[in-house]
Symmetry: C2
Subunit: 664 residues, 2 copies
């Protein structure tokens, strides 16, 4: 019996080798094989079912999450999975859990800020999950402004301990994942106070709950902060609150990798440079960018497949209607998102390299690239997560009414994804940091200090401020050097314009404050250039497989030209391109959409997602959408009875005109 | 005892009479008084509590909705509320329910398409809710393309009946609100077939459930389509599915206001003009635009109040930190949304007038304005709902992490609002209709046919295609005629450019298809012009109250200039304004933000929303955010026990290294 495949015809149309594209997407054959194997493992395991998630109550959902996390850990041990494989397993289980914070924040925090002794003491326990940790930084009153945290850790020289305390309501820790119900330990951030002096915010390892009975230790108040966006989604996570009432911990539980408190209560910098902590930050942000490409590709996969199934209008002589993917509006909304998924994937890959590079430099005491790396990772985190959040919702809209059903998978995907715009740095706050870095770079241009890395192009500012775009025909826009120069010129001109406007203010700080919206826009321009450039650099590598590179070239052009169209004002108002060249770009874009069209289904197949991971009836691999939607509907609890509960109390009295006497 | 008011200082800053602004917002003193009274009535009634909504299971939520709907109806009868008051009551109960469709779609459909006899028969029952109706148009396979519906209504001359039938799975009705569990009747749309001839889609009144025991009548399969976006939100509604298996209804249950089937099965147009049905459409769309301003103003109210409470960074000498509303980025994201709320309110008000106007014309057999009215209402529905959906999510982001909590009210508001982008016409499909209308207008320009109403400016296309914007200094942008001309020129130039490009295609239809994305953009430009113009027209009226008009002028400028900034590419590339003029607009915008700032809280107070209606801890009138967030957290079911359910099965075995032997 042949398997049902409504997309077979679409798959036949593909002009490239899908299997090779899967490898290009995954990053390497090995990465592909691990992903493929682990995702199937998860998909075939009934414990990891998630199709009923939106119907569970908070308690049921949380219980289900604990079960999955335990089962996942069991499988990791039974199958002796490597760290990479274990990470993939958690990824494909696709349900936020305390363990994400344990592995993703608690352990890296100790690794990044602990001394060698601290690492030797705590990490082995953490690796075995004999303790479960969370990352407790944010408070009710302070998130973005970490330096404003109010929790105190006061050194008591009599007992050689720190006393952790929450002096105000707003100093309550608030948001840390895993804290609410599970974590036994936290890396908690607090103001270090020794001898009455405030040394600012530092990290401390604090035990929260007894390892015997899981009860909070004396002086600790801890709980869950309540429901969040959506049904299912991030409600599987026990984001928590925490108050300390004079909780004592030994002195050696302050993370002393970078600064220390001596037995006498003296505060000292260690000989390890402070900058080392930035390694962790780059690592975390690189992961967030990779997650953006995953979430985005997932939404795009659903919307693309459904757009090929969905037919609406345009039937001729009783024939089938037009697939909505054939409408140019649908293409102009969808294909740039498809291209962005690939663009973010490749810039994420490059960030992995950057992480290795910066780590090596840090260990060699070379801090020269840090400001640039800091700005670049902050900016990429910001623009990729913002774009992904918007894109998921656009994909939902692209599915018409049916996208609004939970069974489309898109509502949960949106709800679970969007906090990425806020955590690990609010996206606006991050853009402003990039903006400041850009201004600093511009202000230093005359000084002989040469900009490096992703900002190197500013060294050519003089040229970029007066260059003219060479485009004469639409196809000129396919040339990489033309694209790069246009994006460089746009970014340079916006940055320089900002700097000039700032200089008009008597106090520079006032200029920064007043023009911050412009700075944020300049930052976006700079970061989009980075993504475009890295995509183009990727294409300069050898990429095997029939037609694979060609498809990626098309997507790269779609990515760049759709950005150009969206931000046309930047390009034209700064004189980087003429209105006519803008119109030619738009024309080229339309031609590119026609080239993407026959390959669209194969391009999303290349993500290699199982139906389990996608979690969407609209995105099913086989395209068998309607019968499955119909089947799914009947599972709703409301359909357990034909006449709904409440009929006699609430509906019948209305119909029978008895409402005035009804007891409600 | 004085009431707590953390916003007291902000309220003192206001430079206008808030009470008078409340009336300007409501539209009239009478409308204000009704809203005010009814909203308090709802807020003070414990049955209408909604703060626990996101924690209810689907069944509990639905039961809660039935209860509220019954109680609302009871109050309507007890208090002898007018139709307007009853509508307001449902509005402030703020929980989608079957009754919305009964009053908002079922009754208007009969009113709009029924004969006088049909109205006399059905409406009295409907007004008393002796029957409860829904509007069953969309099917699993067809939404946007109404003409493609598959359900059939075949006339049987032997029995003088129609036989309603669902011939395929995709012909199942799918989405109608109230259908799933409650409605006793539907206006169902089906292809009318007489004598083997298909006369296209018509409406039929069909009884679905027994009035005795609420069981579906023979031949009818009906149920709920399952969970939708979010928790709470639209899940209170029983959007339903429906299949007909040869269901017979008397001939007089076809809505025969416009066309009829005789006893012999002859299909005839009635002498009432077809166009009359458009009245209903204008009515429904006007309501959707009004709802957009309500949803948007609600989100803006929450984000504005919280932005004045939230402080982050910028503490000097230990003083308080900066209110985030003082950051220019926050202002540049928030204030345009505040301005949009007012803009949509006023264009909604104008649409009410338009509805009256078009109704009068229709009855006087004057159909001349119909195409323009059709395009204008389609376009306004599209741009106001799209903008509102985006804005709610932006408001959520403006609240940082805490906006992600259900208790912020923003997640539910988003989830419940967004389908407005899809129902009553997918927003892209609607824009394309506007685009076609624009092209038709442009193509006819030479013909002597004068464009009327909102498209009248196209009559001055010749001038608009070559005019130059007069702005020389930033404050020139405050002049209404300059704004209007810039927006008219932009729209005219985009439309004319589209039409020229379309004419390059050998077949015009190919041009329409290929350039549809450009058409949609031109449509947006046209519709934004309408909103800007109507805001400006409003300001030409007498608006009483100290400072009220002045504030509205500021908001009008913010609305127009923020759009200009966002769509700068349109304006500059088409040569409507120069890049320098664009920069001046941006400069003026910044100055305007500073003028809005001291009035921001009062401007959202003017919406006159109760805390009940807002449903947001962040948006509380008194600004007492943190203690209430803390209190609310403890109500989560997860906090019922200190040690979570599942600890012994799932957490302890991990910590104790017993996971391999644990029974999961
Ligand atoms: C799902 C989720 C999980 C989380 N997990 C954790 C965790 O495990 N551990 C943990 O410690 N924390 C966690 N957090 C907290 C998160 O890190 C913070 O929410 C985040 O840092 C943003 O801070 P905030 O909420 O204070 O936003 P705010 O800073 O209050 O932002 C509010 C608004 O003010 C603006 N703003 C703030 N400062 C400025 C400025 N200087 N200039 C201009 N505008 C400004 C912002 O742009 C935003 O629009 C989590 C949050 C969420 C939503
Ligand atoms: C919450 C909710 C409540 C509803 N309530 C009711 C109700 O009470 N009664 C009722 O009858 N219906 C109801 N509906 C159904 C609603 O009217 C339809 O969903 C709506 O008309 C959109 O149609 P669709 O779902 O078929 O979208 P589709 O037409 O399938 O849209 C899918 C995609 O195709 C695109 N597309 C479609 N046609 C074209 C074209 N010609 N050109 C370019 N692009 C195109 C769209 O832009 C969209 O991106 C409801 C829907 C929702 C979500
Ligand atoms: Ca729920």
């Amino acid at each position: 019996m042949e398997a049902l495949d409504y997309h077979a015809e679409e798959r036949r149309k593909a002009e490239f080798d899908v299997e090779e594209m899967k490898i290009a997407w995954a990053g390497s054959r090995q990465a592909y094989e691990i992903s493929d194997r682990v995702s199937r493992l998860v998909a075939s395991d009934p414990v990891f079912r998630k199709d009923n998630r939106t119907m569970l109550s908070r308690k049921e959902l949380f219980n289900d999450t604990l079960k999955k996390a335990a089962h996942a850990w069991k499988r990791v041990i039974e199958l002796r999975l490597s760290e990479e494989e274990a990470g993939k397993l958690r990824f494909f289980v696709d349900q936020p859990a305390f363990s994400d914070l344990h592995w993703g924040m608690f352990i890296p925090a100790i690794k990044g800020s602990g001394t060698e002794e601290q690492k030797a003491k705590w990490l082995p326990m953490a690796y075995k999950m004999q303790i479960i940790g969370c990352y407790a930084q944010t408070e009710l009153g302070h998130g973005s402004n970490v330096q404003g945290l109010e929790t105190t850790a006061t050194f008591d020289p009599h007992t050689d301990e720190f006393v952790l305390h929450s002096p105000t309501l707003t100093s309550s820790k608030w948001w840390p994942g895993g804290l609410g119900k599970v974590a036994t330990h936290a890396v908690a951030y607090a103001r270090l106070i020794t001898n009455g002096q405030d040394h600012g915010v530092h990290g401390f390892i604090v035990q929260l709950r007894s390892l015997d009975d899981h009860l909070p230790l004396p002086g600790i108040t801890v709980g869950d902060i309540g429901m969040k966006f959506g049904s299912g989604a991030y409600n599987s996570m026990d984001n928590g609150l925490l108050r300390f009432d004079h909780v004592r911990i030994p002195r050696d539980q302050m993370l002393m990798g970078v600064s220390q408190v001596t037995r006498e209560g003296k505060y000292m910098q260690s000989d390890v440079p402070r900058q080392l902590v930035y390694g962790t930050m780059v690592y975390v942000r690189q992961k967030i960018v990779a997650d953006a490409s995953s979430a985005l590709s997932r939404a795009v996969c659903i919307a693309t497949r459904y757009s090929a199934v969905r037919r609406q209008f345009g039937s001729q002589n009783g024939g089938p209607e037009t697939q909505v993917i054939d409408y140019k509006t649908q293409q102009s909304r969808l294909f740039p998102l498809l291209a962005s998924a690939y663009a973010f994937r490749f810039v994420g890959e490059w960030l992995k390299w950057l992480y290795t590079d910066v780590t090596q430099r840090l260990h060699a005491n070379d801090f020269s690239t840090l400001p640039e790396v800091h700005a670049c990772t902050a900016g990429l985190k910001s623009i990729t997560t913002s774009a992904t959040a918007d894109a998921i919702e656009e994909c939902r809209k692209l599915c018409g009414g049916h996208g609004y059903l939970s069974s489309s998978g898109l509502p949960e995907l949106f709800a679970v994804y969007i906090p990425a715009c806020t955590y690990e740095g609010d996206n606006t706050v991050l853009l402003l940091q990039v903006g400041r870095f850009l201004m600093k770079t511009v202000f230093q241009l005359g000084s002989g200090k040469k900009p490096v890395g992703t900002i190197a192009y500013m060294g050519r500012a003089e040229h970029l401020l007066q260059c003219h775009c060479e485009v004469q025909r639409a196809e000129d826009w396919l040339k990489p050097h033309i694209i790069v120069e246009a994006f460089e010129a746009r970014s340079a001109r916006m940055a320089v314009a900002c700097s000039k406007n700032i200089n008009k203010f008597p106090k520079q700080e006032d200029g920064f404050a007043e023009l911050s919206a412009d700075l944020a826009e300049a930052a976006v321009a700079h970061c989009q250039l980075i993504v475009v450039s890295k995509f183009i650099e990727k294409l300069q590598q050898d990429i095997p497989g029939k037609g694979v590179k060609r498809q990626l070239e098309i997507l790269c052009s779609v990515y760049a030209l759709s950005l150009l169209h969206k931000h046309l004002g930047d390009f034209v108002a700064s004189g980087c391109i003429t209105p006519e060249q803008g119109a030619l770009a738009n024309e080229q874009l339309r031609l590119l959409y026609s080239q993407v069209r026959p390959n669209a289904i194969a391009l999303v197949d290349a993500f290699n997602y199982t139906d389990h991971y996608l979690g969407s009836i609209l995105g099913r691999y086989d395209g068998n959408v309607y019968p499955k939607l119909y089947e799914e509907a009947w599972k709703d609890p409301l359909n357990e009875t034909v006449v709904p509960d409440g009929y006699h109390e609430y509906i019948r009295p209305i119909l029978k005109q008895h409402i005035r006497v009804a007891r409600l």
